[in-house]
Symmetry: C2
Subunit: 253 residues, 2 copies
């Protein structure tokens, strides 16, 4: 039968692509590894490798050395999606998310200062105070040549002494947990939106037209209720979407 | 001592207001009832009533007949906040939220149609299909005289037969659960943002300037994975914020 002449690796890659198209595998998810394909489909490692290569060549995924093959962000409207409300996702760094989606992340530090007197911030009518010293980091975060996020974080140096000398390229949440052994509790975030005009001095997004941006205000607590970090960031609205899942089982009171 | 000349009801109202200012009591929360105040402070019902009246008079809360006194939305920037990611909050209707915040809700139905062939929708690159018949309801939702939300919902009439003849003023989620005995599973929502211009024909927000709006795409499933409802709505960005809490204990995998 002619059917049998379709190479096995194409059948496998097609199945993987269908899982991406159906949404079962989402942007940033790991696609099955070579070893998993070998077991699942009972094929040789050459076939498994060719299957993954095919998925990559068709533009659905990207391989990251030593880490695996990850689903690229291919939503029709070209928005990147960030998941909120899942701690699991919070452990992934901004740069790593972009890498998995096929971009080259780049950061420019605009400001890095130790505020000896701490700071207070009003998020949604509620006051948040971090006693000094506090590390302020203002970073512009690019994917390839596009500024995606204008991020300012205030980090408690009482919770995280000497965090100013650490490499903060990786997930800060991971640093809080692994390096400072903090037990993180609630993360509170608020999303607003506004229009940034091209001429505004605080508008670092290099766009000639008015831009809808998300304003993200966030506060991260330890389980003892101490504030570890306050964030105020702007995300380009034409590049980003935020997604939130609610599960009745978990959140019913 | 002069301290003792401060009337008891003022001390109590001050304590309640402090709980609101600190964020312990949030917009829409119920403040302690007369009976609770009588017990907690060991005061007469006149004093308890005067305490609540004082909180109300100072503009921090509003009384709703037969329901109690609720914290008003008084964030400095005058945004209303909606909590995402909590099923508990999903059970509250749009109108009821506004009532508790001191507004008069009002709805205009722009379209109410039964789509015999069902619909499909692309949310974030993922296709959602509801087989017909599907009830489409397009509603403009006002607080006092201001349009806050332009809401379109598609409801499966296989899951909810004859939902077109029901009063859908109350929470639809409650109707799905109480009236149709559906076991609701995941709720998937995506927030985008865009600029609506005054002249655009689909812009029902009666504003003379470009407006940043949230675009909310949502899908509600039964635990068996059937789609009950798809939503596509616009929220005024100058009136709304969305808030999301993440708790590591619940979401760690």
């Amino acid at each position: 039968m002619t059917k049998n002449t379709i190479p096995k690796y194409l059948t496998i890659s097609k199945e993987i692509i269908q899982r991406i198209e159906s949404g079962e595998l989402e942007a940033g998810d790991k696609v099955p590894s070579e070893n998993e394909l070998i077991k699942t489909y009972n094929v040789s490692n050459t076939t498994a490798r060719k299957s993954l290569l095919e998925v990559e060549l068709k533009g659905w995924a990207t391989r990251i050395k030593g880490k695996g093959t990850f689903v690229l962000n291919r939503s029709d409207d070209k928005h990147l999606t960030r998941v909120l409300g899942s701690f699991h996702n919070d452990l992934e760094s901004f740069s790593n998310n972009l890498l998995k989606e096929g971009f080259t992340p780049r950061n420019i530090i605009l400001e890095k200062t130790i505020l000896e007197n701490g700071i207070s911030s009003n998020i949604n009518g509620r006051y948040y105070i971090i006693d000094g010293p506090v590390l302020k980091i203002h970073r512009l975060r690019y994917a390839d040549e596009t500024l995606l996020k204008d991020e300012t974080k205030y980090i408690s140096m009482t919770c995280c002494p000497k965090i100013n000398i650490l490499d903060i390229e990786e997930s800060l949440n991971k640093i809080y947990i692994d390096k400072y052994q903090l037990k993180l509790g609630e993360v509170q975030r608020t999303l607003g939106t506004t229009i940034l005009l091209p001429k505004e001095p605080e508008n670092y997004f290099d766009v000639e037209i008015p831009l809808a941006v998300f304003i993200l205000d966030g506060a991260i607590y330890t389980i003892e209720g101490k504030i570890v970090e306050i964030e105020k960031s702007y995300y380009r609205g034409d590049k980003y979407k935020f997604s939130i899942k609610t599960k009745p089982e978990l959140s019913k009171e």
